[in-house]
Assembly symmetry: C2
Homo-oligomer: 218 residues x 2
């Protein structure tokens, strides 16, 4: 069994490994978790002793297979709870992160099995992120950033890269959510800005928006 702090470290390192695709540094963890590098060193040494990750002084860390499994379990719980909050309790997708951050630490295999069933074994959370299965395996999707889509092509929104309330609220105002069809009508070479169509509305978006929206083209 793991403490709340240990679970948070494992989860954070799991995400950082996915993002950076290489060893995760002490500073990166510290920033992510909003703590000091010295605290990270402490915890990382503890997790190394528990064989959850490999650690060489000054060289960063890497999750072991076991560590990945534990971390994926926490992510699975987080995302299943997010689905519950949005689908069943009708929370807005920008309100659920904090609460799921707490719920992800509830310990009960059976609870998660039943929650998963209750929700119809969803594959994705309300932000479009994949939910690991009970063995920690992630379904990989071939999603692209909207910024990679060419003029006159179109895609379906499947997720966001950034998930700050501000961004999610912007998307909401523009009536963009998971499943929304987006057509690229025009693209400015100079700054990457676009004219897109969502439903019957056409409007301008900056590169910053386009680089934080995932779409599936198929």
């Amino acid at each position: 069994m793991f403490t709340l702090a240990e679970e948070n470290y494992l989860k954070t390192i799991f995400h950082l490994e996915h993002d950076s695709m290489c060893e995760v540094t002490t500073n990166a963890i510290a920033e992510s978790i909003e703590t000091k590098p010295s605290s990270v060193t402490d915890m990382v040494q503890k997790l190394a002793e528990k064989k959850m990750l490999t650690y060489k002084r000054y060289k960063g860390v890497q999750l072991t297979e076991e560590g990945k499994k534990v971390a994926a379990g926490v992510v699975r719980k987080h995302r299943l709870w997010e689905v519950f909050l949005v689908e069943k309790l009708h929370f807005h997708w920008d309100e659920v992160h904090e609460i799921a951050e707490q719920l992800e630490h509830i310990q009960s295999e059976e609870l998660i099995t039943r929650l998963d069933q209750f929700l119809g074994s969803p594959d994705f959370d309300p932000h479009g992120d994949p939910i690991p299965d009970k063995h920690g395996v992630l379904k990989r999707t071939e999603k692209k950033l909207l910024s990679e889509i060419e003029k006159n092509e179109q895609g379906v929104c499947v997720g966001v890269k950034e998930s700050s309330p501000e961004f999610l609220q912007y998307l909401d105002k523009k009536k963009i959510s998971i499943g929304t069809k987006i057509s690229v009508l025009g693209k400015e070479f100079f700054d990457g800005s676009m004219i897109i169509q969502v439903g019957t509305e056409q409007f301008f978006i900056s590169i910053k928006i386009a680089e934080n929206l995932y779409v599936q083209t198929s």
Copy 2:
């Protein structure tokens, strides 16, 4: 905001006050919470400073109005989650306590408001215990112990006093749950044992059973 430990102390003292109807002793708290009396003294002093209870050395404690409100809030969360686990996830009523013990500490007003709505604002948890409203007010019911029922009277099961898995499983085997009608066909003066009827079945129960089952007669 309160720590997990603080919430557990407040909740425990709240329950003990209801049971004993007088000041709650250090030892009673220690036993309930499975900790040492010295640890209780520490925490109780801390909670007294926070004005959650009044404390005089060697004299026990009493919750303040504020303390009662906080404690009732934790109990409300616990019991709402129990309803969720039984009604929505189809857990058995003897499996939910431990999980609710964790869920009761999730911090989010909005979550509980919505959970309550989602469950149809239930008044009682799966064990028949009343759920405090959002202001901490408990609906009082005039329930009696089955052992107080006379021969040839009957009542409807509304709750249990003890809620150990063993007891709940016994009740289950005998097909007794919340709402079950129980008729007292015979009562032995010597040891308090009874012959009761549940559905079409008639059987013998000891005083130990009868003293742990609440029924409503009306």
